[in-house]
Symmetry: C3
Subunit: 370 residues, 3 copies
């Protein structure tokens, strides 16, 4: 083939136009992970979220403060200043801001101007994670933050990690919604050849998208086989649900059991992974991960073993998505097109949803950036 | 002088507008060197040619396959996948492509969609070199590939090398068409002071441009003096023809002889160098070189000696052209102008020809990129 | 605060529009420091000033030559060529230029074309410094170069240094015109806490802007306390005048004395620092510094001690201004605004002046670059 027919390419390009991608402006009115809670102490942490430079710190009463990281006087990053008694002092001319972002002191004069300050963001700490509402603080709506019961449940054994992804967060959500790639991108880590060919079902809800896959019977890779003891050839069932829960969190839930035992007698082993991408820029993403299991509790060796194995695989995603993003960046626009297959249905619906969310939020911005 | 008069600058700028340069879109309907044949094995080689990302490999029957290096499903570089029995399996979701670029398997479903595939390029291996037609494969025309008889002639002793040039391929062709620069850029390698002042003739044909220079008598630099034995002061004749043969190949042919011998009795020593630039981007070029001689056959020490000496000089071109390209990039457009001198006639004609070729190929693209 | 009210932001943005910043085109018709005199020898020095690539060298009669660093033939940087008997030979095809920038030889032909050459800039060496007029040489006006008597006065002990600043020269001038920042940015070097709160006066003249600050009584930091012997707590007066003298030079003049002595009996100690920023690009600056004192003459240890201490502080400016410039670059334009305070009066006036100067020079360029 010397490239697909032009009509076919044009149709693929038109379909892609309806999907969010690296060119889609960010969605601000939602919750994202700003940091793990243990990253935020009584010192200043600079971090760029959704293209906005923020400074984070923890007050003496343990509240997490998130402010715009730019002094409104002469644009010095406030994170280059100092934290003094829960207030921030700019390192250039000493303007002082309180935890609400208000300027409360200008050292070179006796009075402080009114209405000068920096944007303060609403944060919410839950379990290991600090969430942030990237829109106006007054519109922050905790009901829009999906429950993550297992993430705060002491009966789930947990570990956490962070990866720096050189790709759009949209592509990470897309990656997670079709685990066909386990057989290829993760062939040497936690994928198995039968994974790609296993039957799957799509769930397309209102802002909720999932793909379910029953891989039964299968042979588990070491990361699961060893902790569960399901080490036999074709001994295991692997029941997987990949779910986009909100723009800031994707949850993968897996149940393993011994499929050679009768249903009534078999114990189940459950693992969950919260994949929490926060855009840094259009094509770089803070990738926060919390992993949990409901078995082998209080077993730090197993925790460490699984964590290490999992992060080998997650690093494969990080490397692969960076290559994808480079190819997208380096293909002449008129020669760029993508075809979807059946297993893409949840991801395609999710990307349509993201685009619609963004367009609803800032109707005009979208058209100018496309 | 405080800069030439504005009228003079404007005239120079107008003249340059008619010449191809870094801003001129690529010419696709022609042959370029994709690689040396020995670079292409039964594994995947990624290479960007004319701004297009390609993946190259050799099939079990020794054919060279060149495909677009982007999976049309989700844009993963195919070069990050695997080669299995002459077919390419994408490393993300496992789509499989044959040597013709057709998609022949989608693992997550039982049927493979029609009309999905990647562009396949026409290649042609000749001697040490794999040529590629960068336009549509169906229009590939072998008659447009200049003959290079000496490059496949066992009676010519050959060596080859590669340089990565941080400059436009246009400027390399220009460089080669006026060897005045041997006296300056190559003063310490294979140039001599008399070179620049030697009489020259231009040949301006239809897509063929050459400059001939007879440097007689002259003293040869070591790279030529030692292998030919023409080591005496003013003993040698150096008869040089620099010829643009096509957008993908420039040939320098030199004949040396002892000018102190009568014409009937003097042996000649001939060398040829094929300079084969393939644009990578607008301002970076893959620079393939094959060098040959018709004397001192089967003498590997001489081959190595000449190769090493030549590449010192070719590296001087690479360094100089990169400096030139940086100056072009960093000069404000309204202050940029270039004057031509008489020795530029072949290069100016060649650059006009390249611009005309490009404009004929994509009439509209040219105006938008200028 | 969740960001200031939109009306307040809009007013701040409108005020900033009237101030020069990184987006303001350069002002060419003025004097800038090209180099320290001891940098310019009988060899070629390439340097970019105001976005223009120049080559500098010294002739056999000690004149400083400054030429456009681009051969008008094929754009090779002339600084990559050679200097031969006060003339410059291009390293590509050997075109030769004299100190006036005129092309006087084309080796490949017997005649040299008329009206070919490069722009020659007017230079003026004074004390340690080589000044350059970046406009047309014929319009160079020495009367516009501020006197710097102490810089050529043997009764002032001097040292000099250079810093590479990753920020706009405008922001360096702004920095220098309000030394409130000594208490914060330089808290660990030569600032003291009382500095920011000391009373100040502004002087706003025609192209002359200054801020005066009397810090009395104060405790001197080691850089001043040790050489003056004013080491007591609250013993010293520190009388400071920061003055923008021209686009190319800002002068800080400080007088110290023992404020516990009666006025008629106290010796004074004076130091001066010439801060001479020359834009390299819109957001990078060559930062030349000459420092002098009128006490402890012929005392190299004191000179070295003060130089080292001062450059710790000047490096704090360089680091801080780079952070400021990064924040400016990475803030979405519609979210960028800056408020001024009373102590900014001289800097605001200076930035208005720079913008007016630029707009007068090239009325149209300004609007296109904004």
């Amino acid at each position: 083939m010397t490239r697909p027919p032009l009509k076919v390419i044009a149709a693929a390009q038109a379909a892609s136009e309806r999907l969010a991608d690296r060119h889609t402006p960010f969605i601000f009115n939602d919750w994202y992970v700003a940091a793990f809670g243990n990253e935020i102490k009584d010192q200043l942490l600079a971090r760029t979220l959704l293209g906005r430079r923020l400074v984070l710190y923890r007050t003496s009463d343990q509240q997490v403060v998130a402010l715009e990281d730019r002094c409104p006087h002469r644009s010095m990053p406030l994170s280059a200043g100092t934290l003094e008694r829960d207030t921030l002092v700019c390192g250039y001319h000493g303007l002082r801001f309180n935890a609400q972002g208000n300027c409360i002191e200008v050292p070179s004069q006796s009075t402080c101007p009114q209405n000068v300050g920096v944007k303060a963001y609403r944060t919410h700490e839950r379990g290991a994670v600090v969430w942030i509402w990237m829109g106006e603080a007054g519109e922050a709506d905790l009901s829009k933050l999906p429950d993550q019961d297992w993430m705060v449940d002491p009966l789930w054994e947990k570990s956490q990690g962070f990866l720096s992804l050189q790709a759009s967060y949209v592509r990470l959500h897309e990656n997670l919604l079709d685990l066909t790639h386990l057989s290829f991108l993760h062939a040497k880590s936690f994928g198995t050849p039968d994974y790609a060919k296993a039957a799957f079902q799509s769930e397309l809800g209102d802002g909720q998208f999932a793909l379910l896959r029953n891989v039964v019977p299968t042979t588990l890779p070491p990361v699961w086989a060893i902790p569960t003891g399901l080490t036999g050839q074709g001994q295991a069932a692997r029941i997987v649900r990949s779910a986009f829960r909100s723009v800031g969190i994707h949850e993968v839930s897996v149940t393993f059991y011994d499929c050679q035992l009768p249903e009534s007698e078999r114990p189940t082993f459950r693992i969950r992974t919260a994949h929490m991408p926060t855009p840094e820029t259009a094509t770089t993403t803070h990738y926060f991960i919390v992993h949990g299991r409901d078995f082998a509790l209080n077993d730090p060796d197993t925790t460490q073993f699984m964590h290490d194995q999992l992060f080998v695989a997650f690093n494969e995603d990080v490397e692969g998505l960076a290559l994808q993003e480079q190819a997208l960046a380096n293909t002449p626009p008129n020669e760029l097109y993508e075809f979807s297959v059946a297993a893409d249905a949840p991801a395609v619906a999710m990307r349509r949803y993201l685009l619609a969310r963004q367009q609803k939020e800032t109707p005009s911005a979208s058209s100018t950036c496309k």
